[in-house]
């Protein structure tokens, strides 16, 4: 069992999920190795967000196995699940910053509810360090509404990072951003991975982002994976749904 | 964080003030119901409480001194009412005070009224039972009053008849008054009657002046009891007097026998003088009483005087109790006359 920690940090087997009889995910299986960046490419409506929510326990799948850090999700009670969740960072598409709180409070909110007890000084230091790394230090006391689109993305990332998660899940990290900012975010993802030694699952429909952040890609179409491979492999794949990602 | 601290403080003040207002309200209601002031429990037993409920006020000298704290039925004719009285008021309520049931205003709640007792009795202690006076039905009182008035007029007619005969020198004297004891008795009767009628005159004059007898009747049950007794006595005394005068009247045929004693004659003269005054007074009284009862019956004039006149009512009260005493002795006298030797003799002769 010890060895499995090294082989896969996330393992999903035969996952099925449907809403009102409409299948959204069908027979999804994949693994995430420690330190790996995995890209899941899919158009909107393909079931990407649902997949991410199933992995983190926000949604219950109809059937299938989810193993995180070698623990079977379905067997955990609420408290252990909450402990496990703190080891995962989630970067939402719309950043999902708490808009009644300043940037500092957004980060503090998670820090204060960590299972680890920090001193006040430790907390301040950690918040400032992370914001500094993401270039947000001078926006520390701003409210989310005052931030630009790119800053909000980074702020969402900062909040996901504040508890030093082992896995970070990105939901459409570059959607709604101009190409320059989009590139900036992609680079940031790579840098974060280097600094904090995290593993990531990046869900996107943006091939440039996918190409910039990783080589291993899974293509999701109508609720199931239709292709897997590197950028180069996939470019040669004749399937139309795959080729669609290479247009533009 | 100063803004947050400030908000926290405002919230604290907000809640605190709310709790204070609530507590004050509770306290105010509580004091009204004597929950927080020391009080003493006393009792009174009534046959009917007329819708009195727990929480009604208890009044002493017109001041709220407590509340009704419990009402229990003891038996078919007895309802025990527990009163919780403020400790401060207790020293002023004497053991012979009387509890009765009244109303707060025209449509108001029922209330217990404690009529002050007299100083010679000790003050109340917890657990004491007050004398209770049942409110009297006003219609009954008025009815009695009317009968009395009727009787008085009959009596005075008879008296007029007698005195007329005496004035005319008709021979009743010779027959009757050899017995000086009897003369003395008759003298006393007429003197008493005189006093009674004077008193009645006084009262009825005051009543005519419009000083709230109705109020007195409604509020003060002691008074109505007194009045009641008085009326009853009056009925009795007038019946007696009627009897006497009838007999005297029937005694016509027996004079010519006893006309020798001049001192007796003088006595009889004085007696007849007294009798005359009495008769005239009685006539006035009966007229007054008739007028009053008519007014009361028609419900005019005095209604506005309701519930206000404790000072006058007090004086009426004493007058009536004096009157009552007078009547009692008058009744005794007339009893004595009836039983006297002379009259028995009189009737014996008559029977011959």
């Amino acid at each position: 069992m010890e060895r499995e920690i090294f082989t896969s940090i996330i393992r999903v087997e035969h996952l099925y999920k449907s809403f009102n009889g409409e299948p959204v995910l069908q027979d999804i299986s994949f693994t995430l190795a420690p330190g790996e960046n995995l890209i899941i490419l899919g158009k909107s409506g393909a079931g990407k967000s649902v997949l991410l929510k199933c992995i983190t326990g926000l949604l219950e799948p109809d059937s299938g196995k989810r193993v995180l850090f070698n623990q079977l999700l379905d067997e955990l009670d609420e408290d252990s699940l909450n402990v496990l969740k703190k080891r995962i960072g989630f970067v939402f598409q719309g950043s999902a910053l708490y808009d009644s709180m300043s940037l500092r409070e957004n980060l503090m909110f998670h820090l204060n509810r960590s299972s680890i007890r920090f001193t006040a000084r430790d907390k301040d230091a950690r918040v400032e360090e992370i914001l500094d790394k993401l270039g947000l230090l001078n926006a520390i006391d701003k409210m989310p509404a005052e931030l630009s689109g790119g800053m909000r993305k980074r702020a969402g990332l900062a909040r996901a990072l504040v508890l030093r998660p082992e896995i970070i899940l990105y939901d459409e990290p570059t959607t709604g951003l101009d190409p320059a900012t989009s590139r900036e975010i992609s680079e940031l993802i790579l840098r974060i991975q280097r600094i904090y030694q995290t593993s990531s699952v990046i869900v996107t429909h943006d091939m440039s982002c996918a190409r910039a952040t990783s080589n291993r890609m899974l293509i999701l179409e109508k609720g199931s994976f239709i292709a897997e491979g590197t950028y180069a492999n996939l470019r040669d794949n004749p399937v139309k749904a795959v080729q669609d990602f290479f247009i533009n | 964080m100063p803004a947050k601290t400030k908000h926290r403080m405002i919230l604290g003040m907000f809640v605190f003030l709310g709790i204070v207002i609530f507590s004050v309200t509770i306290y105010l209601i509580g004091t009204k119901q004597n929950l927080f002031t020391p009080n003493v429990k006393i009792f009174a037993v009534f046959t009917d409480v007329f819708g009195l409920t727990v929480g009604n006020n208890v009044r002493f000298c017109g001041i709220d001194v407590g509340t009704v704290s419990d009402i229990k039925i003891l038996s078919e004719k007895n309802v025990k009412v527990e009163l919780s009285i403020k400790t401060d008021a207790i020293p002023y309520i004497h053991k012979n005070s009387i509890a009765t049931i009244g109303s707060e205003g025209l449509m108001g709640n029922k209330t217990i009224i404690i009529i002050p007792g007299t100083l010679e009795e000790r003050s109340l202690q917890g657990g004491d039972t007050l004398l209770a006076s049942q409110p009297v039905n006003i219609d009954e009182v008025l009815l009695e009053l009317k009968t009395s008035t009727h009787n008085i007029s009959v009596v005075s007619n008879n008296l007029i008849d007698i005195t007329r005969r005496i004035r005319n020198g008709e021979g009743i004297f010779g027959m009757l008054f050899t017995d000086s004891e009897l003369t003395g008795n008759i003298d006393r009767v007429s003197q008493n009657a005189n006093m009674i009628t004077k008193n009645l005159n006084d009262i009825s004059a005051r009543v005519k002046n419009g000083e709230g007898i109705l109020g007195k009747l409604l509020a003060d049950t002691v008074f109505s009891h007194e009045l009641n007794k008085t009326s009853k006595n009056f009925i009795e005394i007038s019946e007696n007097l009627e009897g006497i005068t009838d007999k005297i009247n029937r005694g016509e045929g027996v004079f010519g026998k006893l006309f020798t004693d001049t001192s007796l004659t003088h006595n009889i003269y004085v007696t007849s003088q007294h009798l005359q005054t009495s008769t005239e007074d009685l006539q006035v009284v009966s007229r007054n009483l008739l007028e009053i009862t008519e007014k009361i019956n028609s419900g005019s004039g005095l209604i506005n005087k309701l519930l206000t006149d404790s000072a006058f009512a007090g004086s009426v009260d004493t007058t009536f109790s004096r009157l009552n005493k007078g009547i009692v002795s008058a009744t005794e006298t007339s009893e004595a006359i009836k039983k006297s030797r002379m009259l028995r003799l009189f009737s014996k002769k008559n029977n011959k």
């Binding site: 809403f19 009102n20 929510k53 983190t56 326990g57 926000l58 699940l81 909450n82 402990v83 496990l84 969740k85 703190k86 995962i88 960072g89 989630f90 939402f92 598409q93 719309g94 999902a96 910053l97 708490y98 808009d99 009644s100 909110f109 998670h110 509810r113 909040r159 508890l163 | 908000h7 926290r8 405002i10 919230l11 907000f14 809640v15 003030l17 709310g18 709790i19 207002i21 609530f22 309200t25 509770i26 105010l28 209601i29 009204k32 119901q33 929480g55 449509m107």
Partner: protein
């Protein structure tokens, strides 16, 4: 539940209603369970109390003052016909304490706070803020719902106390427009008519009002499901449903009080 609103027939609406009511019951049970079980989010509770309670005071105060004043003026002619103007303060205060104070305050609270709760929670749901908490192992239910329900439950009674007191002042002014009644006399008249059996059910009622408003508005907000449009719907239906609940509870409490006293 994506099928909500797909039914158009009356039976569908009825089914929706019962589903809603069932979910609401489960939701209420969750709130109570979590409120009792876990360490409370005290700071958030205080913040919500401040926002929902203290911030509602001006509105509640103005309304209460006007209610007290108008009620006195409106009742006056009837009392004058009976020659019982002296009873006006007592009558108004009993009406305010037993019924008008709690209900009007609860309705204002529903209008101001329930719509706020509904809109805030539903917008947090739509922008994934609730998911963000959940995914980080923070119980959003405890943080967002329990604190708000608790704040509403405790703040409505406090507001009602203020509302009653302020209505009282309004009534005093109303009496003094035509009569000259000193404040102590007014106070005495008013409190002579007030009993503990007026205060107790009225107070119990206010807690229930607050709880119902909190529960319903949080439920509507927390389980919104129609995107941005859902925010408006949640705010609207929070107000409608909680106002209705206030009246239903009022009816039940009055009946219960009648039975018990």
């Amino acid at each position: 539940m994506a099928d909500n609103g797909n039914h158009s027939g009356p039976s569908g609406k009825l089914a929706d209603f019962f589903t809603d009511l069932g979910n609401l019951t489960g939701f209420t049970a969750d709130v109570i369970r979590k409120a009792l079980k876990k360490k409370p989010e005290f700071i958030e509770f205080l913040r919500q109390s401040y926002l929902a309670g203290y911030r509602s005071l001006p509105l509640v105060g103005i309304t209460a003052f006007i209610m007290g004043l108008v009620l006195t003026l409106q009742m006056r002619p009837v009392m004058a016909d009976l020659g019982a103007e002296a009873w006006l303060p007592g009558m108004v205060i009993v009406a305010i304490v037993r019924e008008i104070g709690p209900v009007i305050t609860a309705l204002i609270f529903a209008g101001r706070v329930a719509s706020g709760f509904g809109a805030e929670l539903s917008s947090m749901r739509v922008t994934e803020q609730i998911d963000a908490m959940e995914v980080s192992g923070i119980d959003p239910f405890k943080y967002l719902v329990v604190t708000r329900v608790l704040a509403a439950t405790l703040m409505v009674p406090v507001l009602v106390i203020y509302s009653d007191a302020i209505s009282f002042l309004g009534s005093f002014l109303g009496v003094n427009i035509q009569d000259a009644v000193s404040f102590p006399l007014f106070l005495r008249n008013a409190f002579n008519s007030l009993h503990f059996y007026d205060i107790v059910p009225a107070t119990v009622k206010t807690f229930l009002f607050g709880f119902a408003i909190g529960i319903i508005s949080c439920y509507k907000g927390y389980y919104t499901n129609k995107g941005t449009a859902g925010v408006g719907i949640a705010a609207n239906s929070s107000v409608v449903a909680s106002s209705l609940a206030v009246f239903v509870i009022d009816l039940l409490v009055v009946q219960l009080t009648e039975l018990m006293l």
